[in-house]
């Protein structure tokens, strides 16, 4: 079976060791984590992990089983690209001179819906949110001019269908 990109959403209790437990599940099976993000969720006291991996369809089910088996995991879901609305965010640090020369970059900023976070006499910082392709395209464009620093965040994703966490929590004890 072909590998494909899956976004895994894991709702968990907040616990110091849990990141280690979850990442070990991938490491043990020699699976590379493409991106990992942890944050609070829509529910008080419940954390959310968003993990992107490239695996085969039968493998993703086994991974979810292993994740859900962890004591402090409330529920784990997986979705394909089509089933989610997802964004990544990135920052570029670029020489300020380039901003003024010819106005080419300024035009690109408008076109790509990116945003200048700060400017000073040496450099400016550009922020862009979007999907991986859009960010890659902007990166390739700016790379020709010279990028002083680049960083991209992990993926965050919202699913089109409901993930019934609140109602699930209501059925659980405590």
């Amino acid at each position: 079976m072909e590998n494909q990109s899956y976004t895994i959403s894991v709702y968990t209790e907040n616990n110091i060791g849990l990141l280690n437990r979850i990442s070990a599940i991938f490491q043990r099976r020699h699976i590379n984590i493409e991106s990992l993000n942890t944050s609070i969720s829509e529910i008080d006291g419940v954390s959310r992990f968003t993990i992107v991996v490239n695996v085969a369809p039968d493998q993703i089910k086994k991974l979810i089983g292993q994740i859900e088996k962890q004591v402090e995991v409330i529920k784990a879901f997986y979705h394909t690209e089509e089933e989610t609305i997802y964004q990544e965010s990135c920052l570029f640090k670029i020489k300020s001179d380039l901003l003024l020369e010819g106005g080419e970059i300024q035009q690109k900023i408008i076109e790509t819906n990116s945003r200048i976070v700060t400017v000073n006499k040496d450099f400016f910082v550009l922020e862009k949110s979007g999907n991986k392709k859009e960010i890659e395209a902007l990166y390739n464009y700016l790379n020709a001019f010279g990028i002083m620093q680049f960083v991209r965040s992990g993926r965050i994703a919202i699913t089109k269908n409901e993930m019934k966490i609140s109602s699930l929590l209501n059925t659980l004890p405590n």
């Binding site: 968990t12 060791g17 280690n20 402090e72 409330i74």
Partner: protein, 579 residues
């Protein structure tokens, strides 16, 4: 704040005091609340406050000093496997804690309920590479069901309660609790409440009547059904429910190495062991059955051989408590999630009575072949050297199947599991999933201490015996009457067998130069004997069983015997070799 009047009116409560006690004492009180009266461990700097607290509770908790922390884990495992209760082991930080890892990994893979407690450096020293600081939470994460580091005494009661609940509920497993030294010293008011649930944790699924119905339909329609049962039946205390199901349906039932003893060895529906060194008939017929019913087992690769050719013709039903096991190795047609005690009980009334006589005769045919080709030679050898099989047979004659057999890892383990007879559940204790050499001696000590009413016999190879031989010190110290049989082939036999079969007899680092084992036993004040001739065997075993004290028996066995049948790695179960 104390004032004069209060000191006068306060009742004198010495050991019963629950206010303003140390975290260390709270740990001991938690153990008592959980019904622990026996534990294993080894002291050291970071756990000394708990040891000091234990000193005051010696009349209520028997702490047994093993001679190595690994021994403490295996003893706790042996205790747990023989009694069904949670085993407890304790160690200091650093090397004490890391010495627990093998036992934790063993308990994790064999689903053994165990709570390990480790001392840790004081909270303010965490991360400073302090003396005997190791990141035991990080190290033990992959080999524990749950672990937690306590840094404040106030956390102790709740976390300890959670530890015991998690260790024993659902699919059982090991839990490690690491307690910083400051938390052991801090004072708290002690209140204990048993843990009965954890929000994010579902120990077992509700019985799904639709799945029960689907399973029953498949079973009732089956012409050639085969049951393969594992330790789940024992862990779920579902022996009676399981027996009722097989007796009503008449389905031939085969066991995994950890499932044996869930039904008596002489049960007419017991068709033997599956897997690499299992019996001929159940392995061959796995690839002939029309419905394979797996009960509380996890399709380990040592059971299935090559998955590409495993029971492909059969519909698969899987009764299992752990959702992660469903479709993990073998794709199922009907997965019945839940506690087998409940699912099998629900199944029973839906099943038709049957006896499957023609199908049983296939098992008998193949069994006759195995008897002729393998079993007769193992149990009633005509050659000069002693076989491991005849030793187990001689033990059966004396114990009549009433003993707990604790085996180590290697050829003797396979022979012990194949040939030992069992009348009751929880009688076969061995390291199945991890295959931990050195398991048997300490595990047998734990099993015996947990079941003083039963005969406990450890069967160990000359190699594995020397991995935890220091635990003879526990027998010396506690006078625990464990019986020890070392089957000495002067080789790391199982590895030598593979070298013979798959590496052109290049015996790299498998021959052993062994010490005088009887003299070593004597050094620990254990009566011992060495037997090298057939005429002395039965008498020596009778003498060992008759002994009220611990007894050591070394039997010199044929050096280069092999264990058969055998499914070579990567081969199909139906490619099982008889020689």
């Amino acid at each position: 704040m104390k004032n004069q009047t209060q000191t006068f009116v306060e009742p004198i409560e010495e050991t019963q005091q629950t206010t303003h006690i140390s975290g260390a004492e709270a740990v001991v009180k938690c153990l008592l609340e959980e019904g622990v009266n026996l534990m294993y461990g080894y002291p050291g700097g970071a756990i000394m406050p708990v040891y000091d607290a234990l000193y005051h509770y010696q009349d209520q908790i028997n702490h047994v000093l093993t001679r190595h922390e690994q021994g403490a884990t295996h003893a706790a495992q042996g205790f747990a496997r023989a009694t069904g209760k949670v085993g407890v082991a304790m160690a200091t930080s650093g090397p004490g804690a890391t010495n627990l890892i093998t036992g934790l990994a063993d308990a994790q893979i064999d689903s053994t309920p165990m709570v390990c407690i480790t001392g840790q450096v004081a909270e303010h020293l965490l991360g400073s590479d302090a003396f005997q600081e190791t990141d035991i939470i990080g190290i033990s994460t992959p080999v524990t069901k749950w672990n937690y580091q306590i840094t404040k005494a106030s956390e102790i009661p709740e976390i300890m309660a959670k530890a015991f609940f998690l260790a024993r509920s659902g699919r059982p497993g090991p839990v490690l609790i690491d307690i910083t030294k400051n938390a052991q010293f801090e004072k708290i008011d002690f209140h204990y409440k048993k843990c009965t649930s954890v929000r994010s944790y579902r120990p077992k699924s509700e019985v799904d009547p639709v799945k029960i119905e689907a399973a029953a339909t498949l079973i009732n329609q089956a012409k050639k059904p085969l049951i393969v049962f594992g330790q789940g039946v024992i862990l779920g205390q579902a022996e009676a429910e399981f027996k009722a199901v097989i007796e009503k349906t008449g389905i031939p039932s085969a066991w995994t190495i950890l499932g044996v003893s869930a039904i008596p060895s002489n049960h007419p529906l017991n068709v033997g062991m599956v897997g690499m060194h299992g019996n001929y008939a159940p392995n061959m017929l796995t690839n002939e059955c029309d419905v394979l019913i797996a009960v509380g087992m996890r399709f380990d690769d040592r059971v299935t051989g090559s998955l590409d050719t495993y029971a492909k013709q059969a519909k698969i039903i899987h009764f299992e408590i752990d959702p992660a096991e469903i479709d993990k190795n073998v794709k199922t047609d009907v997965a019945v999630l839940g506690d087998v005690k409940e699912t099998l009980a629900a199944l029973l009334s839906k099943l038709n009575k049957n006896s499957h006589e023609a199908w049983h005769s296939r098992f008998k045919e193949l069994d006759t072949i195995e008897h002729r080709e393998v079993i007769e030679k193992d149990l009633y050898p005509t050659k000069e050297g002693l076989t491991m099989g005849e030793v187990i047979n001689a033990i059966n004659k004396e114990t009549k199947g009433d003993a707990i057999i604790v085996s180590d890892v290697g050829q003797h383990q396979m022979i012990a599991c194949r040939y030992a007879k069992f009348n009751q559940s929880k009688s076969n204790i061995t390291s199945g999933g991890l295959g931990t050499m050195g398991f048997a001696l300490p595990a047998a000590i734990g099993a015996k201490m947990g079941r003083m009413d039963r005969e406990v016999i450890a069967i160990i190879g000359d190699g594995g015996y020397q991995m935890t031989i220091q635990e003879l010190g526990v027998i010396l110290h506690t006078k625990t009457p464990v019986k020890i049989v070392v089957l000495n082939n002067e080789f790391l036999g199982m590895v030598r067998q593979w070298q013979q079969l798959f590496f052109d007899k290049r015996y790299a680092s498998t021959d052993m130069t062994n010490p005088d084992f009887v003299a070593i036993a004597k050094g620990y004040q254990i009566e011992g004997k060495r037997v090298c001739e057939r005429k002395d065997l039965q008498g020596a075993i009778a003498e060992m069983i008759a002994s009220k004290d611990s007894y050591f028996l070394e039997v010199c066995v044929e050096k280069e015997d092999n264990v058969f049948p055998m499914i070579p790695t990567g081969a199909s179960v139906s490619e099982i070799r008889l020689k």
